[in-house]
């Protein structure tokens, strides 16, 4: 028996979340007195996972799997789990992984718990803590099926170094042709820019910015910080910003280290979606804005005066610390 973790890669390199889920898998393996194995697909730096406690990597090299395909990837992971006799499978919370997770769950008749925020609180019965009610609460959830699948929330467990002797084995998955009946035909993705899903810092603008023409300063602030840009729901409804930037209960969740909210009032649906961010800064002209109650740091002021100053000061700060 071992713990299996699916470590995602992109263009051959592990994604940032791979280290986090590998670290989580190591922790679970320690609790169970076993070792952690990773399954990776077309990764070229598979051996690097030894830094995060992985003792064996099963790496699949297959041109048919160059582009993500939820069903085919789920089958590959299921076969790796079977080979390893894995009873616990660790997954990330990326959009791709959340797509394949339920398929894997059904194939393995497993217990699946997503949005898990910490190491298991018990292994008998197997119990984890996860967010529920769109981050407005937590639940302790027991997993009772023979195989247990845990989806780790972004940026909740963190990545930890645990240097481990590690081997890489090539693994061949047997994926039936008809698994590709849903085919990717076009991917439209920003490159070289942080995304809301994996950015350490997210800069977000609300209706207080008055119009799309004022987003220049939001983007500039994001650039200085290496941050992703986001927005409140009405901003995307009004077409000021693309839908993919809408964060909150009905948009994307944010779990960054730093979330900067500019001209956002802090409605309950917005707060639910961003509450997993560790540090929140609010810039709002209204001292009564509800967001101040949920923030760590706040500036009461006009965004059009505060943000340009913040950009200048941050540039100076970056120049000094560089």
């Amino acid at each position: 028996m071992s713990v299996l973790v699916y470590t995602e890669s992109e263009n051959g390199k592990f994604k940032k979340n791979a280290q986090e889920v590998a670290s989580y898998a190591y922790e679970v393996a320690q609790q169970l007195g076993t070792h952690a194995t990773a399954i990776s697909i077309n990764a070229t730096n598979a051996e690097s996972l030894g830094n995060n406690g992985i003792s064996k990597v099963l790496n699949i090299t297959d041109d048919n799997l160059k582009t993500f395909n939820a069903k085919a990837f789920a089958i590959a992971i299921a076969q790796a789990a079977e080979k390893e006799g894995a009873k616990v499978i660790i997954l990330s919370s990326s959009a791709d992984t959340k797509f394949l997770a339920p398929i894997l769950t059904a194939k393995l008749q497993a217990s699946y718990v997503p949005n898990v925020v910490s190491a298991p609180t018990s292994t008998a019965p197997f119990t984890v803590k996860r967010t529920v009610f769109s981050n407005k609460g937590f639940a302790e959830t027991q997993l009772s099926a023979d195989i247990k699948i845990i989806g780790v929330s972004n940026n909740a467990f963190g990545s930890h170094e645990n240097k481990t002797e590690s081997s890489v084995e090539s693994f061949e998955a047997n994926i039936p042709e008809n698994s590709f009946s849903t085919k990717s035909v076009e991917i439209d993705k920003v490159v070289g820019k942080a995304t809301i899903a994996d950015a350490d810092i997210v800069v977000s603008g609300g209706r207080g910015l008055k119009g799309p023409e004022n987003w220049g300063m939001i983007e500039e602030l994001a650039d200085v910080l290496g941050a992703a840009t986001a927005c409140s729901k009405p901003v995307s409804d009004l077409g000021w910003r693309p839908h993919g930037e809408h964060v909150g209960q009905t948009g994307k969740p944010v779990a960054s280290n730093l979330y900067i909210a500019i001209g956002i009032s802090g409605a309950i649906q917005h707060l639910a979606g961003v509450s997993a961010s560790k540090v929140k800064v609010v810039i709002n002209s209204d001292p009564e804005a509800p967001f101040f109650k949920a923030a760590d740091y706040g500036i009461v002021g006009d965004a059009f005066e505060v943000v340009p100053q913040l950009i200048e000061k941050l540039k100076e700060f970056k120049a000094q610390t560089a």
Partner: protein
């Protein structure tokens, strides 16, 4: 084309969340229930298929009798028939098995479920359902066109979107973006009157296993007081973010 739209009955997004019975149960006191927002987008797209392509829409919910006002609302919006599986929805695998049993008998071409329910947040019902039925599956769906047996869908990915070609029968996980916000329908008087005449079939659950169980709930710890920084003192903010919070 025969459509099945899955409707999850959830607390209104403005609800404050509390727990009772020694934090083992969700406190439903004073909570208003609504159609899960992700399902509302799906239902709205289903209405488009009904109006433009002559589709028939059935809606399904797994829940007790108290969920009927929510499923009636879906009928008032324009679904043709409703099914309620008379069981407490204990977890996503259980719900998916119930819906799969109904879907097998119903011969549906397209099943629309939400990407995620806003209470359980499992994000698993549509994918498990698709796998149990051996249907194609597209999650986080923000566009869906159907022409005969072929379907073209766009799904949201981290940092962008992806276009997919697939075919019926199909399950999608719907979300915001699938329809314009302004197209969301509020039931009108006529719809509400008509809904009363429509069929709401109550079926008993098939035997299925729970694979997870919530044993205890907890509210997030209260946030400490915000530190206010003067708008003329941006240096202090940078200092705090660097030295105290250590995030820049």
């Amino acid at each position: 084309m025969k459509l099945l739209v899955c409707i999850s009955n959830v607390p209104d997004t403005t609800s404050k969340i509390n727990f009772t019975d020694d934090d083992t149960k969700f406190d439903t006191n004073g909570v208003q229930y609504v159609i899960n927002p992700n399902d509302e987008f799906g239902l709205t797209r289903a209405m488009w298929f009904k109006e433009k392509q002559g589709a028939t829409i059935h809606v399904i919910t797994v829940g007790g009798a108290t969920t009927e006002p929510t499923i009636r609302k879906a009928l008032a919006i324009g679904a043709d028939e409703a099914i309620r599986v008379n069981a407490e929805p204990t977890d996503g695998f259980f719900v998916a098995q119930q819906i799969a049993a109904v879907a097998k008998a119903g011969d549906y071409d397209l099943i629309i479920a939400g990407r995620e329910s806003i209470d359980y947040n499992g994000g698993m019902v549509p994918g498990i359902l698709a796998t149990l039925l051996d249907f194609n599956f597209v999650n986080n769906c923000i566009s869906l066109e159907i022409d005969g047996n072929t379907a073209t869908a766009i799904r949201e990915i981290d940092g962008g979107k992806e276009k997919l070609n697939t075919s019926l029968p199909l399950v999608i996980g719907s979300q915001k973006g699938l329809v314009a916000e302004s197209d969301l329908k509020i039931p009108n008087m006529r719809g509400i009157m008509m809904a009363r005449q429509k069929k709401l079939n109550v079926v008993e659950p098939v035997s299925a296993t729970d694979t997870t169980k919530d044993v205890k709930f907890e509210k997030p710890a209260a946030k400490g007081q915000v530190k206010l920084i003067d708008a003329d003192n941006i240096d202090e903010l940078i200092n705090l973010l660097h030295n105290e919070a250590k995030v820049i």
